[in-house]
């Protein structure tokens, strides 16, 4: 039987901000984006704000209706990354199997290190909880169980600054009465589908005939059934196993709605530059481009396309994105936010077939050299040291640097 911990830093962004500003600690506090740039949603809130009903993801004005004295703080991602790193340094003292799930959550597999730690998993969980509180000044809740799914479930049960143990012998008593939506990967739509077949609790799910679930939910039906029965066997990744990058993307909610194709092109140019620079940083090239478009009624479309030559330069990424855009967007409504991702990634050193009849591939290599030079200039003199003339057409739309401002790495449970 494995011993897996899931450590979740409580109200992470808000806790860090409250630590640095003792004067606001006793007020309801929320970390929120900049409303002037139309990023005005609640990203995190402290316990006091939570008690007043403030929820993550709602607009600032909605939150202020619930909590009139709400203190708003802008996010500082550099600080959060530092805290996330410091927390992981503590976890690594107990195991070499530590896997991040977002900035504030980590699984720790103690199975192989337990013989050397001379302690039981619950005491180690307690030590970790105490150390994070003393050394980082923020609280964590820890779930202790025999697989990743139940460990995560446990860390959500008691908050803040608490430990929940879900042992194999008693998991049916603890987990099965919980609503099925508490299980990882049961979202709103899956919960609705399960409700239709009278599955309301995790216990209902576990006792259901797996064939019925498969028919209703496809392969997910079986996976969720295994989760509910405590049969999740997914390993906690080792320190040396780096995650394989599948796509690199950037997106933005624009300061004003995009009305014309030129607006879209301007924003895509900035995004394509960032995506291409990040591809070069990882020594990757992409063979496809994916775009996401969201109009001002929040309706979203996503389209993708393969490219002829693998590349890590902004021009072909931008052109492919614009081609997709022209093909698939009919301007029913102005656009509120757009994203751009490089997909089908290959290593940059993969050989490329040059053509005898045209010089597209060679031109790509020349362009790559130019962009690498731009990278070096930006590295030495800052992002604004060099920019495209087109960026001056509308500095409000193009005046952001997705590469440095806002690189959040999404995580997936299944790899």
């Amino acid at each position: 039987m494995r011993s897996v911990l899931h450590v979740d830093m409580n109200n992470f962004y808000a806790s860090v901000e409250c630590l640095y500003r003792p004067e606001i600690r006793n007020y309801p506090v929320a970390v929120a984006g900049d409303p002037l740039n139309r990023h005005g949603i609640i990203l995190a809130k402290n316990m006091l704000a939570k008690k007043l009903g403030v929820t993550t993801g709602e607009a600032i004005w909605e939150a202020k209706l619930k909590a009139p004295g709400l203190v708003l703080v802008p996010p500082d991602y550099k600080k959060y990354l530092r805290f996330s790193r410091m927390a992981r340094e503590i976890y690594y003292e107990y195991s070499d199997q530590v896997e991040a799930f977002g900035l504030d959550e980590n699984w720790i597999d103690l199975t192989n290190s337990l013989p050397y730690l001379h302690n039981d998993p619950v005491s180690i969980a307690n030590t970790i909880r105490r150390r994070v509180k003393e050394e980082l000044g923020v609280t964590v809740s820890v779930g202790v169980s025999f697989n990743k799914i139940f460990a995560k479930l446990g860390s959500d049960l008691k908050k803040p600054d608490a430990i929940t143990v879900i042992p194999y012998e008693h998991f049916r008593d603890i987990v099965w009465p919980l609503p099925v939506s508490d299980l990882l990967y049961v979202g709103r739509s899956t919960a609705r589908k399960l409700e239709q077949i009278a599955v309301n609790t995790i216990g209902d799910l576990a006792c259901m005939d797996v064939e019925i679930l498969k028919r209703r939910l496809g392969k997910w039906g079986e996976i969720l059934w295994l989760f509910a029965n405590g049969m999740d066997t997914s390993p906690v990744r080792k320190i040396s196993e780096s995650e394989q990058i599948k796509s690199i993307g950037n997106g933005t909610t624009c300061p004003r709605d995009l009305q014309t194709e030129q607006d879209v092109r301007l924003v895509f140019t900035v995004l394509a530059e960032s995506v291409a620079a990040r591809l070069r940083d990882c020594c990757m090239k992409c063979q496809g481009v994916q775009i996401f478009l969201r109009d001002n009624s929040l309706f979203t479309v996503s389209r993708q396309k393969k490219m002829e030559f693998p590349c890590c330069t902004s021009a072909p990424i931008l052109e492919t994105a614009m081609e997709l855009f022209r093909q698939h967007y009919r301007w029913h409504k102005p656009l509120r936010s757009v994203s751009l991702s490089a997909i089908y990634l290959v290593t940059a050193h993969k050989h490329m077939q040059l053509s005898l009849f045209d010089d597209t591939a060679e031109q790509l290599l020349i362009q790559e050299q130019i962009e690498k030079t731009v990278d070096m200039l930006r590295y030495r003199f800052g992002h604004d040291a060099i920019k495209r003339a087109s960026a001056l057409l509308d500095q409000k739309l193009t005046g952001f640097n997705p590469k440095e401002d806002h690189t959040i790495h999404p995580y997936s449970y299944f790899r």
């Binding site: 500003r21 003792p22 805290f83 050394e135 980082l136």
Partner: protein, 75 residues
Amino acid sequence: MKINLEVNAKFDLDGTVRPTSIIWEDGRVFAVDRVLDMRRAASLKAGGVGMRYTCKICGKTVMLWNEEGKWFMEK
């Protein structure tokens, strides 16, 4: 409350940093007689996280924090 301080420190060959004296707000210099403890810790009063040095200064136990090169103490 947080008091930011100028600090004189010794950097050992192994990378250990130890404060040797602190320069108070009015310019007076106080020697650090002994460093009793060093560990990473949060300061809830001043608001910060870094290496915390528990020092003896003029017979008093004083805690100094070094947060990414910036030194401070609690008031």
